[in-house]
Symmetry: C2
Subunit: 326 residues, 2 copies
């Protein structure tokens, strides 16, 4: 089978590619060809499977048509402008996050005939917006409070309609906040959720802008990859018309995150967290989901971590090679 | 104030224009100019208020920019490809119902500066799709089962986001099924809900393709106009971030519709209803909403009829000039 990964150079994209190449097959079908696409050129992986790497802007008309002309059987669509940037630049966010997705779906539609690839769309808990119940279930209505969340919710609707019409065989995966995000600190409002774990484990100071009682919903990068792989091989007949699913995760307060860090890396690591309350970040976070009951996804076999300790240990194993500097 | 009506030549559009001209003001502001737009040329009304009539395709880039260049203070956006046609022609439906709306919103955005008109968007109960609870409340999640419903749900999301960002001051009005629809029978799956009242009152036979226990949600054309007028003058600060509202209506079964017809026009009228079960129509209708509890809209002052008798009597008064032929 021919697999296309759009957004292959991103953090999740690179892990997904490694997972695809490590497995060599999806749902019992050998991967015979892999196309990796991003706006910057993805790395050429070392593998015996033929891999094409391509760079282009998916939101430019016709680029998607070129990408799907070879009729990939399975398409992962992970490319997106992140939340903060989509908020800062309205046109860019709509163009990439919505138009890019629609151009992809329409490129598939225009091929027509028997062609109906599985399309796995990375969505986000940003589709939810306050007021929210303490525990969010699968029937929560979507009232996004960011342009990013709006764009993802619109893309989800399109995915469901095009799936209903037999244009594509879509499944939308609402990812939890990915934690521990590897790499350098960024300016996202959510950045500290990873920062207060990642930096101390690396012997560095981290800033905590909110109180210990702030609660949020997390999954590891490893789980994110597993969600995507599972979505690629799921029997979509089980989804009915509702093609978009909130993913499982770990609900944890900042206090519980810190407790887990203490258990794993000791008080020295915890002392590297510097409290610097930031009203503006606290206000943004207050509108975010806290806990989910993702019963549908669980019943369909999606699995995440079961404790925040596990999330930290995955970061130590996968990113730090087992070595904690704190 | 300058009022722009897009979709002014349609059934609701014409009633809205009559209502605007009859009142002469909106929310205490005199209407000093009216622009009527549709894909076919709207009728030039007889009035002392300056009225421009225009015909163009709103889904063609730049047409919306031309329309809003004069910065109307209030915009009603009623233009749409109907449900059946949007289902039959995927490209046309997305182009008019979604792109047309987005081009309008973006034309407003591009003007920028202080310009932030009230935009009243006609949406529909088609945004809801089975499985549905017996009574649908304001937090029902949207899982449309038609392309039309999908396009309206996407337009609603855009309206909310652009309102949040201060591009426009939007309110989306989810209309019940309008009943009694005047004019000739059409081929819409919902056509019989009006037909079994309209045709007998006119001394003509009507076909009933479903059973008496089928229940649905109705409002008169007069109520539809009043919803739009109320939305135009509402304090949108009361809406918070949730800019889209299900409208009140009358929940009635087909049996209750027929009972009301009997009370008003007698058994002779009822005998003009010919039962001709149609499995395919029955299956479509089975996925539709039955009853709503539109608490938010009611609290905000939106009002509909309180019985199906009232809906029939409005048709007799407004369309038949008080004369029943049955």
């Amino acid at each position: 089978m021919h697999v296309l990964v759009i957004g292959a150079a991103g953090m999740i994209g690179r892990k997904l590619v490694a997972s695809l190449l490590g497995s060599g097959h999806v749902n019992g079908h050998d991967i015979t060809r892999l196309t990796l696409h991003d706006v910057i050129m993805p790395e050429q992986p070392q593998t015996t499977i033929p891999v094409d790497v391509k760079a282009s802007d998916i939101s430019v008309p016709h680029e998607a048509n070129v990408l799907v002309a070879s009729k990939p059987d399975l398409i992962f669509h992970l490319a997106a402008i992140v939340s903060g940037e989509a908020e800062a630049n309205l046109e860019l966010g709509y163009r990439v996050n919505f138009d890019g997705t629609r151009l992809l779906f329409d490129a598939i539609r225009i091929i027509g005939g028997e062609y109906c690839p599985r399309v796995v769309l990375a969505s986000s808990l940003a589709v939810y917006g306050a007021p929210l119940p303490d525990v969010i279930d699968d029937t929560q209505h979507l009232t996004p409070l960011t342009s990013y969340g709006t764009q993802k919710a619109m893309a989800e609707l399109l995915l469901a309609d095009y799936s209903r019409r037999g244009v594509l065989d879509g499944i939308g995966i609402r990812l939890p906040t990915i934690c521990v995000r590897p790499g350098l600190p960024n300016k996202a409002a959510s950045g500290f959720f990873s920062g207060i774990i990642r930096e101390p484990l690396n012997g560095q100071e981290a800033v905590l802008p909110v109180g210990d009682n702030v609660q949020h919903w997390f999954a590891s990068p490893r789980s994110a990859t597993e969600f995507l792989m599972h979505a690629a091989s799921l029997d979509t007949a089980l989804l009915g018309a509702q093609r978009n699913l909130m993913m499982p995760g770990v609900g944890a307060t900042v206090g519980e995150q810190i407790d887990a860090l203490r258990r794993i890396a000791g008080e020295r690591a915890v002392r590297l967290i510097r409290r610097e309350p930031n009203e503006s970040i606290a206000r943004i976070i207050a509108g975010w989901p806290r806990l989910f009951n993702p019963a549908r996804a669980k019943a369909l076999g999606f699995k995440a971590e079961t404790s925040f300790d596990e999330i930290i240990n995955i970061h130590i194993a996968d990113v730090l090679g087992g070595v904690v500097k704190a």
